[in-house]
């Protein structure tokens, strides 16, 4: 899923995600005080189809209390409709607390995410070529009004995800539409005036069994099932968008008490939820209060003050200027979590055709300086990247394109440029978001690094999100660019959510415009392989693309920092999505 941060026009709140994309550096410096922090290496996600409710108790957990979650600089979801959710913030909250789906993730003892059943009794049964999946819906799950969650309601929820008009930014537009049989032609229950979803036969219900037919083999359906879009929706008008998005019917351990978009979301205990029906979730705290759009500096002060307010609070990010204080003061209450995201630079494949020039760009990028100028902590919130697939993804290979980690090396960049025979200085045109001084400072560092390496940089200032420029083929600024960028996070720990969206010919976020028929065919081909071979195949393809074509310059893997109050129990991160592990939090009494 895309990494979104808000674009505040006034007073330059940061577009950090875009501005501060940084990359690998050789050393970590190591001059910082406080404990050296190892950030949790992510391993390939495991699965446990047998897990049954209730979820194992968290050691020492006590019920009661209210947990306040501050989300600095994050506006939160626009709507709580499960079908429309495709953001790290919204999905992490709702999937953990209010909205159940076919499958879900749990955190194991080592902090790794495990895919376990949720509303389904297992992880689904595919047919031989993964063109048909059957899920058996458990009978004991209930809505917040006490009524049981039926298989028809789950099927209707799945059907809703096909309505790309009603949910234009929903994940169904990518996955349901692409994989489900007959989905391309069906416009969805709302757009095609088919409120009971009778005109689409891709999903069928037989007792408690739901069968989904695919148009192409879809071995990752069990992962896709962990999206709340693959969960139930009340039949008929009760779930009609956009009204349903303000007060969705909960079936998880918490229900929505009040919701003010961009301000506050209050969740309270759902007394109809039974722990026996849910293998992954807990219901320790009495309520959760999510405060959106908070001021980072203010939240940092609150969290570091350790007063009555902050003892039961959680912050989803930490200002980099506070990292040293927090690191020394908070110990294990400062949690670093890989977010399964990669920051990249994307040289225009149609204009910069020589691989040596693309590699020269990678050597000309002053990784550490960009991180510092952008307010990141080198080696902590940004770590060097070697390829597109983030650490912890199944099949991820630990290779280096040139034998060792690419670092800032202007001499090497010049040598590569000379080898390519291109004119020096080689012109590079890129954009930066001028309203944010951090973005401007980052661009300055990039410009200095590139110009020291034999490039000539033209940096065009823009006043809207660079994504708006990069993704609009008709934009007059975009037509001038030969270097773009994109930050991408995986939707589940499989290469199919990283490589095709970024590097398949014609993909929306393929801002490199990379289009090699052999690679495209290989991507299509991998989907037809036996499931157990796919992860390795994605890893091989990742290596092949990087070593043979080097179409995209991975500059950094991203880590998030979470701060937990002293009375919040079990301070951990959720490795599946890059958010605090809401499912297992409790208030110490």
């Amino acid at each position: 899923m895309k990494r979104n941060k808000p674009l505040a026009l006034v007073a330059g709140a940061a577009l950090l995600t875009l501005a501060a994309c940084g990359g690998g550096s050789s050393d970590d410096g190591g001059t910082g005080s406080g404990s050296d922090r190892e950030f949790g290496d992510q391993e390939g996600g495991t699965k446990d189809a047998e897990r049954q409710g209730p979820a194992a108790d968290v050691e020492g957990a006590t019920p009661g209390g209210t947990i306040t979650v501050y989300l600095p600089g994050d506006p939160g979801p626009d709507s709580l409709d499960p079908t429309g959710g495709w953001s790290v913030t919204g999905n992490s909250i709702q999937q953990a607390l209010t909205s159940r789906s076919l499958t879900q993730y749990a955190r194991d003892e080592e902090g790794q995410p495990v895919l376990i059943p949720d509303l389904a009794t297992d992880l689904g049964t595919p047919n031989e070529d993964y063109t048909e999946w059957t899920f058996t819906i458990r009978e004991d799950a209930t809505w917040e009004d006490g009524k049981p969650v039926t298989a028809e309601e789950v099927a209707f929820g799945i059907c809703r995800s096909l309505d790309s008009e009603a949910f234009p930014s929903g994940p169904g537009t990518e996955y349901s539409k692409h994989y489900f049989a007959g989905a391309e032609e069906y416009e969805g229950p709302y757009t095609s005036k088919d409120p009971k979803c009778e005109n689409w036969d891709g999903v069928s219900v037989d007792g408690q069994d739901i069968t989904i037919k695919m148009s192409v083999p879809f071995p990752d359906m069990d992962y896709w099932g962990a999206f709340m879009a693959m969960g139930p929706a009340p039949l008929g008008n009760a779930s009609k968008p956009p009204n349903y998005g303000t007060q969705p019917l909960a079936n998880g351990p918490y229900k929505v008490d009040s919701y003010k978009p961009n301000e506050e979301l209050v969740l309270v205990k759902n007394d109809q939820w039974s722990a026996d029906s849910d293998p992954g979730r807990h219901q320790y705290a009495d309520s959760f209060v999510f405060k959106f759009n908070q001021d980072q500096a203010k939240v940092d002060e609150i969290m570091l003050s350790d007063n009555a307010d902050s003892q039961t609070a959680v912050s989803t990010s930490l200002g980099s200027d506070k990292y040293n204080d927090a690191n020394g003061q908070l110990g294990e209450r400062l949690v670093q979590q890989t977010s399964q995201c990669v920051s990249t630079l994307t040289p225009d494949y149609t204009q910069i055709t020589d691989i040596n020039i693309r590699k020269a760009l990678a050597y000309a990028y002053p990784y550490e300086d960009v991180w510092i100028a952008g307010g990141e902590v080198p080696g902590v919130t940004r770590v060097p990247a070697n390829s597109v697939m983030p650490p912890g993804m199944a099949g991820k290979k630990d290779f280096q394109v040139d034998g060792e980690q690419i670092t800032y090396d202007p001499e090497k960049a010049k040598a590569l440029l000379e080898e390519s025979g291109a004119e020096m200085p080689y012109p590079i045109t890129m954009v930066y978001y001028e309203v944010d001084p951090l973005a401007k400072a980052t661009q300055d560092q990039i410009t200095k690094g590139f110009e020291a390496s034999g490039f000539k940089v033209k940096a065009i200032p823009v006043q809207e999100s660079p994504y708006n420029i990069w993704l609009d083929p008709d934009n007059k600024v975009n037509k001038q660019l030969n270097l773009r960028g994109v930050n991408w996070c995986s939707d589940w720990p499989a290469g199919s959510t990283m490589l095709p969206p970024l590097l398949k010919g014609g993909a929306v976020y393929n801002t490199a415009l990379f289009d090699e028929p052999s690679v495209n065919d290989e991507m299509d081909n991998i989907n037809t392989l036996p499931l157990e071979d796919q992860a390795a195949a994605w890893g091989d393809l990742d290596e092949k693309i990087m070593t043979e074509y080097f179409p995209i310059i991975p500059t950094a893997f991203r880590n998030d920092l979470f701060v937990f109050g002293t009375k919040v129990g079990n301070p951990t991160g959720d490795g599946s999505i890059g958010a605090p592990n809401y499912k297992d939090l409790y208030v110490m009494q």
Partner: protein, 344 residues
């Protein structure tokens, strides 16, 4: 910005008859044979606050004009290497100890230290920020004054339809909220000129235009009022009876009599533009290339930097406060000096 930079009530009234004075008094002898300007300058030089303020303003003007030379003298420049040479990314991005305060001892290499995160030299950026600030404010003031004076003269002297039309425009511009207009204009200008090679220059030019566009109304109103009073005076009547062309009446008869209000409105417009330039840069809609006091304040205004490296915020802040305050006080002193009715 829709507030008037100088109201009629702050001025010596030129419309009333001069006071009768005993030609043999001490005071009369003192000023006999001197031009009004000489008298004003004499008064000004006896005003201690005015002298101090003038020196401060002169200091800033020298800093602005010779920004490059002074930077060279100290061996600093706007050119900065890569950030990691100057700042410690693992220590909140604060300057390394060798770069001077807050973590190290004072060093002549960077007399005012370097900026956190980027390592830009504070002195060079302060001097050039001063230049940008004064340059934009001065040019905008000149443009706004010229427009204001011309509109005011024409509206006041010609009267009738011309006056109605011009007054309408004055009122119309006064109703447009300045900040809103500036916020709206920034992305439009960016969209139009982002691809240009001279974007930074165009940005400053457009900033001058925006400031001037919303700054001329006060002067225009003031001048119009003065002209309305003056044009019924005998010397103007006489000039018209003799058949002088309107332009001559305007520029030879009226304008010299308006010197005082014009000087005063200029002297009060200048500081307000300095403050506005910094304010817009702070909001990210003025100068965005980083060389501006407002932009430095924006970068420095975080609780951590203010606690651990307060001088980074104080430097541009003191610059703005000292410049605006002394310009304002100097403006007041000039007004007092030019007003024949003030007694001190």
């Amino acid at each position: 910005m829709s507030a008037e930079t100088a109201g009629p009530e702050t001025l010596g009234s030129l419309s009333s008859e001069p006071e009768q004075q005993d030609p043999n008094s001490q005071k009369a002898k003192e000023i006999s044979g001197k031009s009004p300007l000489r008298i004003a300058l004499g008064r000004l030089s006896r005003d201690k606050i005015a002298v101090v303020c003038a020196i401060v303003v002169l200091f800033f003007i020298i800093c602005a004009v010779f920004a490059g030379t002074i930077s060279k003298l100290f061996g600093v420049s706007l050119e900065t290497g890569l950030a990691s040479q100057y700042v410690d990314g693992l220590n909140n991005g604060l300057p390394k100890p060798t770069m001077g305060p807050p973590n190290g001892p004072f060093t002549w290499e960077h007399p005012m230290g370097v900026a956190p995160r980027t390592g830009e030299d504070n002195l060079a950026y302060w001097l050039h920020g001063c230049r940008i600030s004064l340059m934009i404010a001065t040019v905008a003031t000149v443009v706004a004054s010229i427009v204001g004076v011309i509109v005011g003269l024409l509206a006041g002297f010609l009267g009738g339809t011309v006056d109605k039309v011009l007054s309408f425009f004055i009122d119309m511009f006064l109703t447009i909220p300045f900040l809103l207009a500036a916020l709206t204009l920034a992305p439009i200008l960016n969209d139009r000129f982002a691809l240009s090679d001279n974007y930074a220059t165009i940005q400053k030019f457009s900033l001058i235009c925006v400031l001037a566009m919303f700054g001329w109304m006060g002067t225009a109103r003031l001048i119009r009022g003065e002209v309305l009073a003056l044009r019924e005076r005998e010397f103007v009547q006489a000039a018209r009876v003799m058949g002088m062309p309107t332009s001559r009446v305007l520029f030879k008869e009226l304008l010299p009599n308006l010197a005082a209000p014009i000087i005063i409105s200029v002297s009060l417009m200048l500081p307000s533009f300095v403050a506005l330039e910094a304010g817009l840069a702070f909001l990210g809609i003025g100068v965005t290339d980083g060389v501006s006091w407002g932009q430095t304040i924006l970068k420095a205004a975080t609780p951590t930097y203010f606690r651990e490296y307060p001088q980074y915020l104080w430097q541009p802040l003191l610059g703005i406060v000292a410049l605006v305050l002394s310009l304002n006080l100097l403006g007041d002193a000039v007004r007092d000096a030019l007003d024949p009715k003030t007694r001190r």
